[in-house]
Amino acid sequence: MTSTNPKRDRADGDVLLDVRDLSVIYESAGAAPVQAVDDVSFTLKRGEFVGLVGESGSGKSTLGFALTRLQKPPARTNGGNIFFDGSDIRELDTETLRTQRQGGFAMVLQSGMNALNPVRTIRNHFMDIFRAHGHVAKADREARAAELVRKVELDPSVLARYPGELSGGMRQRVSIALALSLEPQLMVFDEPTTALDVLVQHAVMDTIQSLQASENFTAILISHDLGIVLEATQRVLVMHEGRIVEDGASRDILERPQDDYTRMLLSHYADPRAEVVELPGFPARRSGAEPGTTRPRAEAGDAAVVTRSVRSADSAIVVDGVSKVYPPPRRGEKPVRALDDVSFTLEPGQSLALVGASGSGKSTLAKLITGIEKPTQGDVRFGDVDVTRLRAKGLRDLRSNVQMVFQDPYSALNPLHTVEYTLSRPIRNMTDLRGDDARARLHDLLTTVGLTPTETFAQKLPHQLSGGQRQRVVIARALASDPQVLIADEPVSMLDVSLRAGVLALLEDLREKWGVSLLYITHDLLSARLVTDDIMVLHDGKVVERGVTSEVLRNPQDEYTVRLLDAVPNPRRLREDVA
């Protein structure tokens, strides 16, 4: 690879960044100190594009902040050296630190798109930087700003606009251009695409890659997603519990991972288009084309009757010609059409995936079904009940049958209530169980979602639980009223890759044992393939494709479905491309 790029050849062997035995500690008052980065050493050659991968809490962002001296208390570097271009950046005083940001190192943050000042135009942002560092002659500033904006594939006309007028992806591109304006030798990208929509993510990553190649800066890409990193970078550092457990070329990591942790991360990637999809903790899911592999509908229905004899008959959710129009966000603009003539039926025991990028209307649909909002047109029925006409009492009854699993387990649990309290409320409000029966029910629920020993978990507060455990509590709460329908709105998108499979397996299990029907809302086609039988693809509020999940994903008809499929990060695709 090096021989194809003469520039890089020349730079080869020239070490830009040399990190030796770096340790960073978090010292908060009243809490035990946490060694977030523990004795980390690595070097970066000029022009290299390196990925830094780890799950949440692995210390990867802390390391990124330490490298650029952007860390704030309570974080403190408590050992080691960082040599950047020969000098130790830990020794720099604040003024040298500021001036060296030009031609030195820059960082692009996850929330970089929110780092723009809303009352100043994009042009002002560039001019501020040029003025602060004075490295561009006054006459050239305008041209330079336009050039930078063009580099990140934006039209120079955005210079005259305010941040609020740009989309999230455009704003993130602007913040990359701002970082570039200082001609840094080292760029640190901290999860630059995580807060963006899937399709936009892909486009922004492409921009970063081509920029790195054309501008030839050295770059570190910090991400939780090994798939994205392996697709983009030449070398990967895998971080786990503050240490670098693996450091190797992307290809080597993909084909011959040395560390167990890396192997575990890799095992959670699969191609949703494949004939057989297999993840740890999941039985292999074959395509529907093979006989006997799709679950027969009737069987699921039977299971429901067996385990839930309490209820007389299960009802289907019928969505009939539903449209939802929101009033225009600003005066003079058009009203927003979130849903346009959507119809479907969710039969008892069925699992249906609702797929689309953000803004496709999938969450709006969930709000309509649960009665949080009313449709502008059309009908939503649950059995004989017209959901659109329900008042407070009727909604409570509806919600004992239709329950919701939320996207963010960190905000879906009240931080001040124990698991026991959280679960006891729906049992008390929606079932006739009292006293010992309610207690038994609570412990059954915790056992069902795999939080054992139940006595211990019942007494915990949310902050004592991991993300995956929290999401299990959220699922247990949704099950407490013995619902017929579970609406899961991106239930795993906030979780680490290694925890996702467990939560998905739980949902799958519940469907089989409890006969719950599942409406699974997601943008992640791999997880949709794993837990659903049928799929519906939404684009701009319209259904563009529907059918059996495995068939739709293997032979997508609509161009939008293809784009969503391409956006699924998959390191193995890289291997196939090469082979």
Binding site: E27, S28, A29, G30, P73, P74, R76, T370, I372, R396, R399, S400, Q403, M404, F406, Q407, D408, S411, A412, L413, N414, P415, L416, H417, T418, E420, Y421, T422, S424, R425, P426, R428, N429, M430, R434, G435, A438, R439, A440, L442, H443, T454, E455, A458, Q459, L461, V474, R477, A478, A480, S481
Partner: protein, 310 residues
């Protein structure tokens, strides 16, 4: 299920099992620790503590009865009367010590009452949507736009000589609106959180969501609002008494100022008569404001670690 028999699960809606209670106590003492670790708040707590002790032990500390008029009039500071005597012949130091009782009582009572009203109205206002919210908003805005002091004077003049209870009532009626507004905006931001929607999905009714789910998450804001309201109440009480709108026969810092002004204390050179109660009012208000710096650190952790390390 024998193993689960000893675990208490709330069946009556109360969530505090033994374990939850201890952890709640622990988090309470940790919160106190955070407030105490703030230097300004520590000074405030010490000053407030001194005033409270003085108020409690006033009969033991005061050298004379504050209403005893048997001394020589208009005395300067002497060994027998450290701060001199008033134009009516009362001991100023004794008055000052007993006056602390009224100020702390009014500050506490009026502060707590107006905070209670602010919590009840602010939280339901923030949780409600639509027409009901507009109606509450109109009433709160009405109280906000009317200038406080003139309104207090009008009400106090109307309820002539109601004594200390009347003063508390006047302060409460005019003082709750600002707190309600602050609490409402926080409620609005919390009501959008998933756990509130989740509580609706758990079949909870609106009052329970407001007071069991949302309210505990804004404790520090409410405590902050309480100290703010108490400060305002202490100042308002002194102001009303000084204007002669309260019961001028009771001994408080406000009435001391009133009588000192009436007897032209400054002209007779008895500056201590005005200075001592004025300083006490300022110090008490200051102590509450200082404590609020510590309370701010509870709700915003960034204020805690700011200076600890570089």
């Amino acid at each position: 299920m024998t193993s689960t028999q000893n675990v208490r699960i709330p069946t009556d809606g109360a969530a505090d099992g033994a374990v939850a209670a201890t952890s709640r106590w622990r988090s309470f003492s940790r919160t106190l620790g955070v407030v105490w670790s703030n230097g300004k708040a520590r000074v405030g707590i010490v000053i407030l503590g001194l005033f409270v002790l003085v108020a409690i032990f006033a009969p033991l500390l005061a050298p004379y009865d504050p209403k005893d008029t048997s001394f020589d009039r208009n005395l300067d500071a002497t060994g027998a009367h450290w701060l001199g005597t008033t134009a009516a012949g009362e001991d100023v130091l004794s008055q000052l010590i007993f006056g602390a009782r009224i100020s702390i009582l009014v500050g506490l009572a009026a502060g707590v009452l107006s905070t209670l009203i602010a919590v009840a109205i602010g939280l339901s206002w923030g949780y409600l949507k639509g027409f009901a919210s507009e109606v509450v908003g109109f009433i709160v805005n009405l109280f906000l736009v009317i200038p406080g002091l003139p309104l207090m004077i009008v009400i106090a003049a109307y309820l002539q000589n109601g004594g200390i209870l009347m003063i508390i009532a006047v302060i409460v009626v005019t003082g709750w609106a600002w707190g309600a507004r602050v609490l409402r905006s926080q409620t609005q931001s919390l009501r959008g959180r998933d756990f509130v929607t989740a509580a609706q999905f758990s079949g909870e009714r609106a009052p329970r969501i407001v007071f069991r789910e949302i309210l505990p998450n804004m404790t520090s804001l409410i405590v902050g609002s309480l100290f703010g309201a108490a400060t305002a109440a202490i100042l308002a009480e002194a102001g009303l008494e000084f204007l002669g709108l309260g019961d001028s026969s009771i001994v408080s810092w406000g009435t001391m100022l009133y009588w000192a002004q009436n007897s032209n204390a400054l002209l007779t050179g008895q500056w201590a008569l005005l200075f001592a109660p004025g300083l006490c009012i300022a110090l008490l208000a200051l102590s509450l404001t200082l404590i609020n710096f510590g309370v701010d650190a509870v709700s915003n952790p960034r204020l805690r670690d700011g200076k600890a390390t570089k």
